[in-house]
């Protein structure tokens, strides 16, 4: 579906939605800390809905800093003050640490890839708060991967090829990383050290950058990660790689992690179109997680660059995500000590 972002949408600035897809307007509110912000944005989407004559207006609240109950209160009050025919077109979506939920109770599973795509792009354009661009983190992740694997310098052309970014975009990203770079005379670059500051920023944005989607097991008997891996293998897909603890253990077998608390996979999707219906073919018990405190059984991350950087392992007969993705998976799973150990061991092993 074609998505138009704020700059492409006609109209007065204050009445422009952050994105439009079909006849639906999207507005993003990131990390609201009080009810007033929620209230204000609800009114904004009501106005956008009326003035823009959209059939649906979606407010995506990203990583809210207030409770779900307070957001529900605001939504309930809004229902009493906004005309029903307008309010019925409005949807409040909450994205929190990879979990997507809605207050309306409707099934949003099929729309999540669209929400994730819009959230990622709107966030990268700086709406709501300042941050590094998505393109920067794409280049950063590639350089970090080369550094972890001790692959030596990478040509700028190669960076463009792997990332799918233009020459100016790559140069702009490299400029931001200048302090951490060794620039070689033949237009090649490499990291000279681990850029902790940028890494921490990436970790903070990891779930948005990678369009993380969390699934929880709703059965009485959750399947083991090995079972899920076997099922994924049976799908015969080469665009999926194992990550998380499994991936980290592949690169560093000495890593001190007992068991696999959750299974992380990465999907390579250069065209940004992911059909999640395959999850039901893995195990019908896996359902989209709706609450942040639900146990994550199965987690999907996406990468959209042209080169997957997956490593096919003959023994496993399956692909493993690159070490940067595995490291980010560990952070997202709150396995911080293991992430640190992985990083330290990785540099020793490779």
């Amino acid at each position: 579906m074609l998505i138009n972002y704020r700059n492409d949408v006609k109209g007065k600035d204050e009445l422009k939605p952050d994105a439009v897809a079909g006849n639906t307007a999207f507005h993003i509110l990131t990390e609201p800390k009080d009810s007033r912000r929620i209230r204000s944005f609800i009114m904004d989407i009501a106005r956008i809905s009326v003035i823009g004559k959209f059939s649906r207006s979606v407010l995506i609240v990203n990583n809210p800093r207030i409770t779900l109950a307070r957001m529900k209160d605001e939504w309930t009050v809004a229902a009493t003050v906004i005309r029903a025919e307008i309010f019925n077109q409005m949807v409040l979506i909450i994205h929190h640490l990879g979990n997507w939920t809605t207050l309306s109770g409707s099934n949003i599973s099929e729309d999540i890839p669209l929400f994730a795509e819009i959230l990622k792009n709107v966030s990268s354009q700086g709406t709501g708060y300042k941050r590094r661009s998505s393109a920067f983190f794409d280049i950063f992740r590639i350089l970090l991967n080369q550094w972890l694997l001790k692959k030596g310098p990478t040509a700028i052309n190669k960076l463009m090829e792997i990332s799918g970014k233009s020459h100016p975009t790559v140069l702009r990203s490299l400029k931001s990383l200048d302090y951490f770079l060794i620039r070689h005379s033949n237009r090649q670059v490499e990291l000279k050290q681990f850029p902790k500051l940028f890494w921490e920023r990436l970790v903070a944005m990891s779930d948005i950058e990678r369009s993380t989607i969390v699934f929880t097991d709703k059965s009485k008997k959750p399947r083991s990660p090995q079972f899920i891996i076997d099922r994924i293998k049976s799908l015969n897909r080469n665009d999926i790689a194992l990550g998380g603890v499994v991936g980290a253990n592949f690169y560093c077998p000495e890593l001190d992690i007992v068991g696999v608390p959750r299974l992380d996979i990465t999907i390579h999707s250069p065209n940004r179109e992911i059909d999640f219906s395959f999850i039901k073919r893995i195990d019908p018990a896996l359902q989209l997680s709706k609450l942040p405190n639900e146990h994550a059984s199965f987690v999907i991350h996406s990468i959209h660059r042209p080169a997957s950087l997956f490593h096919f392992d003959e023994k496993l007969n399956f692909s493993i995500a690159d070490p940067v993705e595995c490291l980010l998976d560990l952070h997202e799973a709150r396995l911080e000590p293991q992430a640190l150990e992985f990083l330290n061991q990785f540099r020793r092993v490779f």
Binding site: K218, S219, K220, K221, R223, F227, K280, D283, P284, A285
Partner: protein, 309 residues
């Protein structure tokens, strides 16, 4: 009214009452067999049931073995279940279809009763067949129902000498027996409710799946091969056609919340009384059965037919 009974104690009592030479002719089927398979070793776990179904086989020995067993049980003071219609034995003039089924209470107890059935002639999968069983205590009906023959497939011999049917085979028989959710209801109430027979039997499939998965997460993936082997053995002429029917009723059950709730109700008041999955978990068991067994069977059949078999 159903009681909580110990599968182990019941099997022990039946085995002791039946001559050892006839143990080979007896296969216990139904919830008691499933209960013994899944928690026979745990004396605290019991099954909520009242009837213990005994299958007499092979077909050519069923009548003679049945006569010997029933006479022996009457001699041992087992009592005919008299609190229902047809509570007295028939005689030579009673038409076959009006003969009572053999239902006997053990001496001194009305907690459960044993009911005798037999297997159908090969390839019969459409109707009930009445077989006259003449004993010293009168004439009875040793019925056979479609797909009961499958229960003879690799039965599991218990330490008491008699065998129990394999749970996954009982699941197959129930799936084949209900190509759709029919309107027929059980003759008695199940925990106070009138229940459709299809919902009870297909619910049993999900209960078996649920308990199997608690033991082995790969269990369902192993069922298709076992099912095909059993179908080829007992239905050599039309096993391929039968595979096409597997799961049609279950799909309907999962699509209808009322039928699914009824199936869930029978299970949590029966085989899953000690386990108690939620309705959502029960539904997931059903979806897993569809995905991991039935879809596999169907897709394998399509491949085979596509190759010109």
């Amino acid at each position: 009214m159903m009681n909580m009974i110990s599968p182990k104690e019941v099997l022990d009592q039946i085995s002791r009452a039946i001559p050892e030479t006839l143990h080979k002719n007896i296969t216990i089927i139904g919830s008691l067999a499933a209960g013994y398979y899944f928690f026979g070793n745990n004396p605290d776990l019991k099954v909520h049931t009242k009837d213990v179904d005994c299958l007499l086989s092979p077909q050519f020995e069923a009548i003679s073995a049945g006569r010997e067993v029933v006479d022996k049980l009457f001699t041992e003071k087992w009592e005919m279940r008299s609190d229902v219609d047809w509570g007295t034995p028939g005689n030579a003039t009673t038409p076959d279809n009006q003969l009572p089924v053999v239902r006997l209470y053990p001496p001194g107890s009305k907690d459960w009763f044993v009911e005798f059935l037999t297997v159908s002639p090969q390839e019969n999968n459409a109707r009930r067949i009445d077989n006259r069983l003449e004993t010293s205590h009168g004439h009875f009906n040793l019925c056979s129902f479609p797909f009961l023959a499958l229960s003879q497939f690799n039965p599991i011999k218990t330490k008491f000498g008699i065998s129990i049917a394999r749970p996954e085979i009982m699941a197959l028989a129930n799936l084949l027996g209900h190509k759709k959710i029919g309107p027929e209801t059980m003759s008695g109430l199940i925990s106070g409710r009138k229940i459709k027979r299809s919902n009870k039997d297909l619910g049993r499939v999900l209960a078996i799946a649920h308990l199997s998965l608690l033991r082995d997460e790969y269990a369902l993936l192993k069922w298709p091969d076992i099912w095909i082997e059993a179908l080829q053995k007992y239905y050599p002429l039309n096993w391929e056609d039968l595979t096409q029917d597997i799961g049609k009723g279950l799909e309907q059950l999962l699509e209808n919340p009322y039928d699914l709730e009824e199936a869930h109700y029978t299970c949590v008041n029966g085989l899953l009384a000690s386990n108690h999955p939620t309705l959502e978990q029960f539904q997931i068991d059903g979806q897993r059965v569809l995905l991991e067994t039935i879809e596999v069977i169907h897709s394998n059949s399509e491949k085979d037919f596509g190759m010109g078999f």
